[in-house]
Amino acid sequence: MNHFQSLKTLSYVNIRRILRIWIQTIIPPAITTALYFLIFGELIGKRIGEMPGYEGLTYLEFMVPGLIMLSVITNSYANVASAFFGSKFQKAIEEILISPMPNWAIMFGFIIGGITRGILVGIVVVLVSLLFTSFQINNIALTLFSILITSTLFSILGLINGIYAKTFDDISIIPTFVLTPLIYLGGIFYSIEILSAEWQLISQINPILYIVNFFRYAMLGTSEIDPLLGFTLICVFTVGFFMLAYYLLLKGIGVKE
């Protein structure tokens, strides 16, 4: 049995979906990012000045990695959650479950879709940011790795959300009430050094803070949090949640009666 062909097909189906609805998948991040740069970067950012711990960088330069991560995280998550739930809703998931495709190939097929959208949107955000500021990437390999593993992790989380989802509400509850607050409070727009000691402590519970700072280190060469901590955290989460998603599919939770 040619499982590579199965995986290639499912990945292609998911990528084709992203490109078919490009107005919903690619354009919105470009517009929101441009607005962030215009309002927080150009208009308000100039009054903010430098962030503590990032001396020598303008606020716009500080914000670029955070905005890339914001787009990568939300888009890779949303892509897999909606694609998986959409196929459950239309019963198209049965086409896959009836076939000889192993669970790992089903998982990777959806995850590759999420990674593709994360990377595509990441590229769009970089291009938009170049309209407002210029920057040099400190470590290209680490930056690419960081985008890849972050989009992988959030694609897996989106998959788990899609597996459990029974209604369209279920795929918007987690992004709206959990993911968005964690991202916005995860050091995208500010350094936690500006917070009080208590709020700094609370912020340190937020895993997104480590992910954003790992990427900021890869891109700018400086970070307020030890990048090794971010690297370890993201790797452990990726492996752990991958195993959880695999277990859920193996047991047929959310997809089989």
Binding site: M1, N2, H3, Q5, S6, K8, T9, L10, Y12, V13, R16, R17, R20, G86, S87, Q90, K91, A92, I93, E94, E95, I96, L97, I98, S99, P100, M101, P102, K251, G252, K256, E257
Partner: protein, 303 residues
């Protein structure tokens, strides 16, 4: 070697509904097999478990000699399933849906494109290949479902009510197509509520009721169990109000039409030799009821 071998298949749903109570079922290679039963009897659960859409509690399933738990990919590669409900993305085009399904089975795009063209032409929807699925009629969607199930050339094809909601002309066309692929060697298992369909197509039959197989035999053997047959007879004469055919129960339907019940062990010649009957100018004789339907009702209501 059997095309399908089921042993002690049991399914208990979460709400403590015992959908399957340890069924055993064998379907021979090359057979055209009917799996019938009333709504909620366990047909779709059985098909769901065979096609991995439903988890079983107990039992084993072998497809063409391959145990589904021992070698999942090989067993599944031998199976094609046409589900009762449409299961494809409404936002994809016909050809894309078929090619994707082939890809999930590991069929290369080149081979899949050839097969897709063959079946689309054979089932008369080649001109729809670039049309979005949502724009197709119910009958056209049903044909896409059949093509999807056949695209990897399975040895066993299971069809769960494949002609539900399709017009008579298309239904007949699908019957001919299914007969053709069965003749070419594909084993077919069919569930249907059109019992005429099962009677015309299938050689063997199992009836499932309340999660148990209550009958599993050949179609001929089953039909021999009929106690009576009812015939409707049309005449050129005006029928007498007191129509009486010696030895047969009869009922006048209108001035030129009546029905007569012929018991299983009675020769039809006795009817033709009756003096009253001989005096009539018969224009048409037809079997009034679907024979299988009558048996089916007898079996499934006998509790």
């Amino acid at each position: 070697m059997k095309a399908l071998e089921i042993k002690n298949l049991t399914k208990i749903y979460g709400n403590d509904v015992h959908a399957l109570k340890g069924i055993d079922l064998n379907v021979g290679r090359g057979d055209f097999f009917a799996l019938l039963g009333p709504n909620g009897a366990g047909k779709s659960t059985t098909i769901g478990i065979i096609s991995s859409l439903v988890n079983k509690n107990e039992g084993t399933i072998s497809i063409c000699g391959v145990d589904i738990d021992d070698n999942f990919p090989l067993a599944k590669s031998k199976l094609g399933v046409v589900n009762q409900e449409f299961n494809f993305s409404q936002f994809e085009k016909v050809q894309d849906v078929i090619m994707s399904q082939a890809g999930y089975y590991g069929v290369s795009p080149h081979v899949a494109a050839e097969k897709s063209e063959l079946y689309l032409k054979k089932l008369g929807i080649w001109d729809k290949k670039d049309v979005f699925i949502r724009e197709l009629s119910g009958g056209q969607k049903r044909r896409v479902m059949i093509i999807k199930a056949l695209i990897h050339e399975p040895e066993l094809l299971i069809l769960d009510e494949p002609t539900a909601g399709v017009d008579i002309e298309l239904r007949r066309g699908l019957w001919d197509f299914l007969k053709e692929i069965n003749k070419a060697g594909t084993t077919i298992i069919l569930t249907t509520h059109y019992l005429e369909e099962a009677e015309n197509l299938c050689r063997n039959i199992a009836i499932i009721d309340d999660g148990k197989i209550i009958e599993n035999t050949s179609m001929d053997h089953l039909l021999q169990q009929l106690e009576n047959q009812v015939f409707t007879i049309e005449t050129d004469n005006d029928l007498p109000i007191d129509l009486n055919i010696q030895g047969f129960k009869s009922e006048i339907k209108d001035t030129k039409k009546f029905s007569v019940i012929i018991p299983k062990d009675t020769a039809m010649n006795d009817l033709f030799e009756d003096e009253t009957f001989k005096a009539l100018k018969i224009t048409n004789i037809k079997n009034q009821t679907n024979r299988l339907e009558e048996l089916f009702l007898n079996l499934t209501t006998k509790k």
